[in-house]
Amino acid sequence: MRRYVIVGTGAAGIAAAEAIRCHDPQGNILLISEEKDGYYSRPGLAFYLTGEITERQLYPFSEQDFRRLGANRKHVRAVRVHTQSHQLVLNDGTQLPYDRLLIATGAMAATVKTPGVQLAGVVKLDNLEDARRILKLARKGRSAVVVGGGITALEIVEGLSEHGVKVHYFLRGDRYWGNVLDEAESRIVEHRLKEEGVQIHYQTELAEILEKRGRVAGVRTKDGRQIKCELVAIAVGVLARKELAEASGLDTDRGILVDEYLQTSDPDVFAAGDVAQVFDPASGKALLDSLWGPSREQGNAAGCTMAGVPTPYYKRPPFNVTRLANLTTTIIGAIGGGKDDDVLGIVRGDSESWRQLPDAIAAQSDFDVNHLRVLVGERTLVGAILMGDQTLSRPLQRLVTDKVDITPIHERLLQPKAPVADLIADFWINWRGRHAA
């Protein structure tokens, strides 16, 4: 009987367990989780913070589901892999034998070295425990300072605002999420945040977190201002949790390096999800994603291969639908570039592929409060961002992912003041009629 050990119980780990069970009904599957909360929806934390769902709702699997899967679970931390002897060493010194091992340890919030960062009242949003802490503080606090960028920073900003906390949002630069959004898009988000009562402080950096009896009492900025607050949230990006691989001599870069079968430099050790740095054929580079969909697909592919059914993973154009200042936003393919001073690397719900500058020209249009920008390549759409009305979300996902030839509308899309949304909608209706699926 083959022994499978999966380190990490996020989307990748669970998808791998399901794939293994599908191909190996007898195999022994052990899921190891450092987090006592086990498998829950990390993206769902945003809705838990705003009070739209309860904590209980975050768990997609019941005990019965785990029994059906036939997987054992262990709440422990793995510290090293002895690849030669096929043993996984745990923090209590015990060793677990494996035949195939998957590292799906995800990513963790990057830290800052600001004085005072260790104080009670300084939070991040990595996991459920963090979300509970933020909610607890939000019930007592009157004002908060949020530092950072990307989706996570806004999840915290909106969660706190929803609970009546006055939020000061610090941006190092002149605009929000500058390496994914263009200036108009950043302004849309910022405008909506301001309407919600959030005070945005541009070109503002945290110098020190001020203390009163061991707790956060305020902050001092680098330009000398002081703001009183009871909570400081840091969301400056995430880093792949690759320590286990590094301690075990596996090849790593920004994440764990894997081939198209999610195989690491050791043939019996695999990596999937946020921790895996996967080769992207479109850019010719090995890139990181921090997205649920690719994590699940990678976990599935790795699980199949581990169970003896070699299954390659081919990176698709990254795709996310998120809420930015309560505005539903679809982001797909390559749409950004440059750098964002508010984050150290990748953020949750992000993909490095979004910033692989394509050989393309942007076409955009605004309709009511909605905004659409598409990146037009030689014959295809290589990326798109859609804010507000999501009618075109699915068509754009399909057109970009399937690299649909848009030659019939190519020239018209690039004309000044082109009705981009209408052109794409008409093209989609016509194309779908011919390729019904």
Partner: protein, 87 residues
């Protein structure tokens, strides 16, 4: 519940059953559970979304609450094939 509202509910359900069912797109779903949370009759829509299976539960009212609430557009209505038996 009075008779009138019961009849009304019945007619809504009948109407819904011949109009369509809810179809998930797994790739868009992040298992946040909003769909299941707001389902008035507690169908585990999230599970269907994970498995990529249409919600063909005969109790589904196709009220559209899950479709509207899903923050990622992972759910949509699709016309029912009238020749396919309802579960």
């Amino acid at each position: 519940m009075d008779l009138k509202s019961l009849l009304k509910q019945e007619s809504t359900r009948r109407q819904a059953l011949v109009t369509g069912y809810v179809v998930p797109e797994s790739f868009r779903c992040v298992q946040c559970g909003i769909c299941s949370f707001y389902c008035p009759i507690n169908i585990d829509i999230r599970r269907h979304a994970w498995l990529g299976e249409p919600i063909k539960d005969s109790h589904c009212l196709t009220c559209g609450e899950c479709v509207t609430r899903c923050p990622r557009g992972a759910l949509r209505f699709e016309r029912t094939n009238l020749f396919e038996p309802v579960k």
